[in-house]
């Protein structure tokens, strides 16, 4: 015999409704988390605008690619850095240099590393040299590459190649003083 609530709705219906609500909320939370990690395509101008939005913070912009082994090795340290220094005014932005056809690899990489900071994908097309020069004229195009901006929004440091957690920490600590 089925039990009914005062409103005439079966208990099993309530169960289904609660389960559906739970699934909906889980999907919303997951989508929000994904959105925070993958922030869309960006060109040099868009990236400069994204950095400018964080004025007042020390901003660490890291260029990486899924095919780049040292990028993959240093990325967890950036995730750790952002978690440790978020409250002290440090923002991290990731920029994937992968090609658009590699989007599944990008998503898999971000899902495995779970960064709490946004990651953009370099917009396809155009000459890569223009993008590289716009980010930093001294950048030769090697990956990984990191640019650190001071609280005033000005470029303060460039880090070529793979860095250690201590390197990242040193770079931001100096600018937080």
């Amino acid at each position: 015999m089925r039990r009914h609530s005062d409103f005439g709705i079966r208990i099993s219906d309530w169960g289904a409704a609660v389960a559906a609500l739970f699934l909906f909320l889980a999907a919303v939370v997951a989508a929000a988390a994904d959105a925070s990690r993958l922030a869309g395509n960006v060109d040099a101008k868009g990236l400069a605008a994204a950095v400018a939005k964080d004025r007042g913070k020390v901003v660490v912009v890291n260029f990486w690619a899924t095919w780049c082994v040292p990028c993959r090795e240093e990325f967890p340290d950036l995730v750790r850095l952002e978690e440790a220094y978020r409250a002290r005014g440090v923002a991290v932005l990731g920029v994937s240099i992968d090609l658009p056809k590699d989007m599944p690899k990008i998503e898999k990489f971000l899902a495995a590393n779970r960064p709490e900071f946004p990651n953009y994908v370099k917009r396809a097309g155009g000459d890569d040299q223009d993008f590289i020069d716009a980010v930093d004229p001294k950048w030769g195009g090697e990956l990984p590459f990191t640019v650190v901006y001071g609280k005033d929004g000005k470029k303060a440091k460039v880090l070529s190649g793979k860095q250690s957690y201590a390197d990242f920490e040193k770079a931001v600590a100096e600018l937080l003083k």
Binding site: A65, W67, C68, V69, P70, I97, L99, D127, D128, Q129, I132, D133, K138, W139, G140, G141, E142, L143, P144, K157, V158, L159, S160, G161, K162
Partner: protein, 194 residues
Amino acid sequence: MKVLRTLFALLALAVFAGPALADGPAIGTAAPAFEAKTLDGKPFSLADAEKTNSYVVLMFIATQCPYSNAYNDRMRDMAAAYAKKGILFVGINSNKTESIDEAAAHAKKHGFAFPVLKDPSNKVADLYDAKHTPEVYVIGKDGKLLYHGRIDDNSDDAAKVTSPDLKNALDALLAGQPVAKAETKAFGCSIKRV
């Protein structure tokens, strides 16, 4: 004691920090001379190569870098085509993570007929301040650097190249013309230094 500690810290900084982004040779200046060994142990001297060829193309390459590997066929074909015009292509593997045996197997697999050098202590990469693979340098008979940068503007698809920069540079030089775009850039894998 405190003074000593400070001095030691300063010394350590000077030794380990180094220049964040040093500069390699500028276009038109002397390309640093060096000697190294090919993968099969033969001696190689840049000075000798300059004397016996019209131009020398140094290519920093890798066995495991997808960006460098995307150019294996293009490097093989260009080296063969320009060898007939007196231009020597030379591969240089400066990655500490890639052994001589691995580099030799890679060269054989991809049909590299040009010499490939192993740069075990990054000596050559440091002289040129080469940052990534692939990265190329064109050197003239007088030892001057004439071109530095990428092979072309599309690593992903050779059929979609719109700016074959290395080819343009070599063709200009062979025609006795100045190189219009002597410095170019592309993404690549950073050289794994010792």
